[in-house]
């Protein structure tokens, strides 16, 4: 029951964050969502449905190894994609339409990454003032 509740809370929080403005919030939302799914897979385990695949033996005291292997793989993949997403949060901030700074996208392109960064820092600094 507690597992089901935590999956529900994590999934709800994740969906809420994904629907927010701002790439960082979206990333955090996905982190929570993947946690929810990982817990779901762990909860899916159970050895009562089948015998031990080799050598027979008593499985009543055993944990189901398969979901653990699944979750391990899924965590690694989610980690990799979170890094990719984090890259998208810092690269090309000029056209980040998840951020909606002043509602309009720049018409002119970007000459270089540095200039873009300077500009965006300038813009955000200007807004704060």
């Amino acid at each position: 029951m507690s597992l089901a509740l935590s999956i529900g809370v994590l999934a709800a929080a994740g969906v809420f964050l994904v629907l927010q403005r701002g790439m960082i919030r979206i990333i955090l939302g996905f982190v929570l969502l993947t946690h929810a799914v990982n817990l779901l897979i762990i909860a899916a385990g159970g050895v009562s449905r089948r015998d031990a695949p080799f050598f027979g033996g008593d499985t009543s005291q055993a944990a189901d190894p398969l979901p653990q292997a699944f979750v391990l793989t899924a965590i690694v993949i989610a980690f990799a994609i979170t890094v990719v997403l984090a890259t998208f949060a810092v690269v090309g901030r000029r056209d980040d339409d998840t951020e909606d700074v002043n509602g309009s996208r720049s018409q002119n392109g970007v000459d270089g990454e540095l200039e873009a960064q300077l500009d965006s820092e300038h813009e955000s600094g200007g807004e704060r003032r």
Binding site: F30, A43, A44, I81, V84, G92, D95, D96
Partner: protein, 541 residues
């Protein structure tokens, strides 16, 4: 022979991944990048053709990873269906990569590696018979795709890449949740062990979660909206590559799951039928209203996904055969049309219907490729589209779905209408006065590595345009009017046209060889109707 190939099945995944990894450390401009990249894609194609020949008589090749007994190991399976799709996916990869080499995009960092890793992921997703393993291979396909989008996003438009990553991550998470639910109900994620489990409502719902996630990846209505935006600002060659691989792999898995787990259960197939009919109608309608070539083609692609899914929704031998033929046809023709669109965009700087005009007299070879591909997509003989659509309409009518058969024909007319708009504006329209300047601006942007939005100094553009006129000068001199915009020299280099020509040639070949293609698809569909051989082979019984 069969035994050796069975042992080598994991190489379809392992070899591209390994070579892709090696290419990461090869210097960026080293010729080895392109030689090894192209060589391994061609080898993949060769291997896929060998698989197709070996599985032609209904043989099913199985390799249990690490030789664990069937039912416990992760199985790799090649039957006539997966081999056929693997062959076409390899063809699309080879030709898209050829286009990337021709357009110079392959010079960007790591492109060859990323394409190889993507190909490896596709191989794995098509061959594996384990749902969790499938999830892993979908991720293996997606990660290099993010890289390709990032490195080749010429427009400085990261927003589309962000959209692509988030949509796919959400769908993957949903798919993983579905796999977890299936494991919770059945205690296994081996596809063969799940055969017929769709009778159990809990398993059916868990599997439906997976199908829903795949629907997002395949861009099925109502979750199709991301496709045109995400692919619309990717590099065009990348869009062509993805169109042949990502969405089609998702559709392939829908076919596989529907046949093995649901065994064509009526209620579920009706649900797929409704969604497919809406997808094909909505895609064609939206395409009518687009004002740029690429989004227009991308919505045609959404429409095509609907056509393919009608095949599995019918779940009759004729329906599945027609659906598989349509899938093959659509992968080839869509890649061809997208490569044509990209050749136009890269040369003339714009794909807007109102800004490019008069290509019919100016670019004869490209026009030929476009006419063939467009007529093929619309479904006119003697091209592959005719075979596919004719078979699909016959199958729908044969299964008593007369309404669907009528819808297919009406939607084909809508597709023809939107393609006629491209023909009328871009190919047959009056020569736009600015076309020469637009092309010159685009060449300057490419030469100096600028993004698309950058405003080019008008004097520089005029000078470039004049220089180009001098260089590519009209073969028979400027026309009598003396208007410098009126000349007939081609602008699109031949090397950018050849990939599209090859694909449209293939479409013609598949049209004339329709009997052969139908025969291949019939073998594939018989394995989908009767899954007992598949299950026996995978479970090792």
């Amino acid at each position: 022979m069969t035994n050796i190939v069975e042992l080598l099945l994991p190489l379809f995944v392992g070899a591209p991944l390994l070579l892709g990894g090696i290419l990461f450390v090869v210097p960026r401009h080293h010729p080895l990048q392109l030689i090894m990249g192209m060589g391994s894609l061609l080898a993949l194609l060769g291997g896929a053709i060998v698989l197709l020949i070996l599985t032609f008589d209904g043989t099913i090749l199985v390799h249990q990873i690490a030789l664990w007994p069937g039912g416990i190991s992760i199985p790799f399976v090649a039957d006539s269906f997966s081999s056929l799709i693997l062959v076409v996916a390899a063809i699309v990869s080879v030709i898209s990569f050829q286009y990337m080499i021709a357009s110079g995009e392959a010079q960007s960092p790591f492109i060859a590696s990323l394409v190889l890793i993507l190909a490896g992921g596709v191989g794995g997703a098509l061959l594996t018979a384990d749902l969790f393993n499938l999830f892993v291979f979908i991720e293996v396909m997606l990660l290099p795709s993010y890289g390709l989008l990032l490195f080749l996003s010429r427009r400085g438009d990261m927003a589309a890449s962000r959209l692509y990553v988030t949509v796919n991550l959400l769908a993957s998470t949903l798919f993983l949740a579905g796999v977890g639910l299936i494991y919770a109900v059945q205690g296994t994620v081996n596809l063969a062990a799940l055969a017929g489990a769709g009778d159990d409502p809990a398993t059916a719902i868990a599997t439906a979660v997976c199908l829903g996630a795949l629907a997002v990846k395949a861009a099925v209505f109502p979750v199709h909206g991301w496709l045109a935006r995400a692919y619309g600002s990717a590099s065009p060659a990348v869009a062509a590559l993805f169109s042949g691989l990502h969405t089609k792999v998702a559709v392939y898995i829908v076919y596989r799951i529907s046949s093995v787990v649901f065994e064509g259960d009526g209620a579920w197939m009706t649900a797929i039928m409704v969604v497919a009919a809406l997808t094909l109608a909505v895609g064609a309608f939206v395409a009518l209203g687009e004002s740029e070539i690429r989004p227009l083609m991308l919505f045609q692609m959404v429409s095509g996904i609907g056509f393919i899914l009608i095949g599995v929704a019918l779940f009759t031998p004729a329906g599945l055969t027609a659906g598989i033929v349509y899938m093959v046809h659509h992968m080839v023709v869509m890649a061809s049309l997208l490569l044509i669109a990209s050749a136009i965009e890269q040369t003339y700087g714009s794909g807007r219907l109102d800004r490019v005009a008069g290509l019919r007299t100016r670019e004869p070879l490209l026009t030929a490729a476009f006419v063939i591909s467009a007529l093929s997509l619309a479904g006119l003989p003697p091209f592959s589209g005719f075979v596919a659509k004719y078979a699909l309409v016959l199958a729908s009518a044969g299964a008593g779905q007369v309404l669907i058969a009528g819808l297919l024909i009406i939607v084909s007319l809508l597709s023809l209408m939107s393609l006629m708009r491209v023909w009328a504006d871009v190919f047959n329209g009056k020569r736009h006065k600015d076309v020469e300047l637009l092309a010159a601006e685009e060449r300057i942007r490419q030469r100096e590595g600028l993004f698309d939005g950058v405003v080019i100094d008008s004097d520089a553009a005029a000078a470039e345009a004049a220089r180009a006129l001098e260089q590519h000068g009209p073969p028979r001199g400027v026309l009598a009017s003396g208007d410098p915009h009126d000349h007939r020299g081609t602008r699109i280099p031949l090397r950018l046209v050849i990939p599209a020509l090859m694909l449209s040639g293939l479409s013609v070949g598949l049209g004339f060889g329709g009997e052969f293609l139908l025969q291949l698809a019939e073998h594939a569909s018989s394995a989908l109707i009767d899954t007992s051989d598949y299950v026996e082979a995978v479970m090792g019984r």
